[in-house]
Amino acid sequence: MDSRPYTNMAWLLVLPAALLLVFNALVPFIAVINYSFQHIYSPQAHLFVGWQNFEEVMHDPEVIHSLFRQVIFTAITLGIEMPLGVAVALTMPRGGRWSGIILVFLALPLMVPWNVVGFIWEVMGRGDIGLLGKFINDVLHINFNYATNGPSAWFTLIIMDVWHWTALVALLAYAGLCAIPGAFYQAARIDAASRWAVFRFIELPKLKGVLTIALLLRFIYSFKIYAAPFTVTGGGPGDSTTFLSQALSTLAINQLEVGEAGAYGTLYFLIILLISYLFYVVLTRSGVSNEESA
C-alpha cells in the first residue's frame, strides 16, 4: 500500500514545471486544435468551418499513404530490432572488463545526431562513394540506387534504423538481464534445464517489463521519425519514403495549409497517444503482477 503522505503543498514543487509546460505544450496544442476548425486566409481573415478540415485530411491520399507507409516502416523495423536487440543482450558478458567497453560501442550509434545518422547512410548507400552501395552494385551486381529506386530507398532506411536503434533495445534488455538474481540460474542448472528453457521460462518473463518499455519507446520514436529519412531520401523517390512527420511539416510550413495541418496534427497526436495509453495500461498491469509474484 502506498504510504506516502498526502499533501497538496506538493503542488508548489510541481507548479514551476507545470507552468512552463502549460506555456509551451498546452497553449500551442490548443492553438493547433483551434486552427483545425478554421480556414485561415491571413492572420486577420479566418472562417470557422467545423469538421471540414478533418474530413479533408482523412480523404487526402497523401496523408493516408504516408500513414500506411509509416505503419509498415514501424512494423518492419521493430520486427527486426526487438528480437535482434534481445539476442545481442543475451550474448553480452555480464560484468568484467569487456562489458564496459562493449556498452560504450553499443551506445555510440544512439549518440549520433539524427541528421548525422541520415548523412552517414546517405553516404554509405551511394553507389559511387559508399561502402554499402558500392558492395551491392559491384560485388552482388544488383542495381541499387536509393535516389531513383523505391525498394533501394526502403532497404537503406530500414538498415539505417536497425543500425541506429537496435542498441536501445539491447541496452534495456541487458539491464533487465543483469537484474535477474543468480539463484534463478542455479536452480535451472540443478534441474539441467536447456539453454532455450532458461530463456523461455526465466529470462523472457523477467524481461517482460523492460521489453514493453523498449517497445513503447521504439514505437513513439519510430512514429515521430523525421530527420534521418529526410536527410537520406528527402521523402523520395517520388514520395515513396515520406512518413507522417515529413508529410505534416510539408503541409504546415511549405504549403501553409494551416487549417488542414491543424486537423492532421491533432489526429497524428491522438493516434500516438491512444497507442501509448494502451501500452501504459499493459505496463502498469504487468507491474502489479510482478509485485504480487515477488
Binding site: V88, V104, L108, G130, W163
Partner: protein, 267 residues
C-alpha cells in the same frame, strides 16, 4: 564452443555498428577529389583541410556555438524545474498527481511537427524568432517531462527514512534537498543531464522552423548544405565527426550508469 558462436555474433554486430562511423571519420580526412574519384578503405593521403575550413569559416563554427548554447540553456532551464517536481512525485501524493504525471508523459509522445506552426507564431509574436532562447524553450517541451521521469525513478530508489531522519534533525526542506539529497542522487542527475544533452544536441525540426541564420545549429547547417548543388562531402563528414565527439565523451563518463539509466524502473 557454446560460448564461441554467440561471441562471434556479438563481434559481428559491433563491427556492423562501427563500419559506418569509421567510413565517415576516414572520409573527413580525404580530399574531395579522392572521395569522388578513388575508392580507398584507408585514406591514401591524409588531409585536415575540412577541419581547417570548419574552424576558420564563421558560417560553420558559429553553428556549433549555437548548438552548445541550446544545450546549456536547456539544461539550465530544465534541471532547476525538474528536480523539485520529481521530488514531489516521488515523495508525496497530492490532488491529481497521477493525471499530471500522465499528462507530462504525453508531451514526450508529442510529435514536434504538430507544434511547428503555433511555435512559429508564438515566438514571432514574442520577438524571439531566430534566437537561441526560442529553441531552448521549445525543447523543454520534451526535455522537462523526460527529466522529471528519469529523476523520479532515481529519487524513488532513495529510502524515505533518510528524509524523515533529516527533518527530525531540524533540516528545512531546501537545506536538506541541497545538502543531503542532491549528493545522494548525483548519478541520476548525471544520467538526466546526459539525456538532456543528447536530445537538445540532435534537435533538427524545431530549429529548422524557429531559426534563420542568426541562431542556426550545426544540424540544420548540414541539412541545408546537403540540399545545395555540388555537395562538399569532405566538410560534411568532418562536421558529422565533430558532432559525435561530445556524445562519445559523455558516454565514456556515464558508461557505468548507462544500462541502469536506460532501464530505470520506468524509463
Amino acid at each position: 564452443m557454446r560460448k564461441f558462436i554467440p561471441r562471434v555474433g556479438l563481434g559481428a554486430f559491433l563491427v556492423f555498428l562501427m563500419i559506418p562511423i569509421y567510413w565517415m571519420i576516414t572520409m573527413s580526412f580525404k580530399t574531395n577529389n579522392a572521395i569522388q574519384t578513388s575508392f580507398h578503405i584507408w585514406p591514401a593521403h591524409w588531409t585536415v583541410e575540412h577541419y581547417a575550413t570548419i574552424f576558420s569559416d564563421p558560417r560553420w563554427w558559429t553553428t556549433f556555438v549555437h548548438s552548445f548554447e541550446y544545450v546549456v540553456l536547456n539544461m539550465a532551464l530544465v534541471l532547476p524545474l525538474a528536480l523539485p517536481a520529481a521530488y514531489a512525485f516521488s515523495r508525496f501524493r497530492f490532488l491529481g498527481d497521477k493525471h499530471l504525471f500522465f499528462w507530462l508523459l504525453t508531451n514526450l509522445m508529442a510529435p514536434p511537427a504538430v507544434f511547428l506552426l503555433p511555435f512559429f507564431n508564438l515566438f514571432h509574436t514574442l520577438h524571439l524568432f531566430d534566437t537561441v532562447f526560442a529553441v531552448a524553450i521549445c525543447d523543454t517541451l520534451f526535455n522537462l517531462p523526460l527529466a522529471i521521469w528519469i529523476l523520479e525513478g532515481f529519487m524513488s530508489g532513495v529510502p524515505r527514512e533518510i528524509d524523515e531522519t533529516a527533518f527530525i534533525d531540524g533540516y528545512s526542506l531546501p537545506r536538506f534537498f541541497i545538502r543531503i539529497f542532491l549528493p545522494l542522487i548525483r548519478s541520476g542527475i548525471g544520467v538526466t543531464a546526459f539525456f538532456l544533452f543528447m536530445f537538445s544536441w540532435i534537435s533538427l525540426l524545431i530549429p529548422r522552423t524557429l531559426t534563420a541564420n542568426g541562431a542556426m545549429p550545426f544540424a540544420q547547417k548540414m541539412t541545408s548544405a546537403i540540399s545545395m548543388s555540388g555537395i562538399d562531402w569532405g566538410i560534411l563528414a568532418a562536421c558529422g565527426t565533430l558532432s559525435i565527439i561530445p556524445g562519445a565523451v559523455v558516454i565514456w563518463f556515464v558508461r557505468k550508469h548507462i544500462a541502469t539509466g536506460f532501464a530505470l524502473g520506468r524509463v
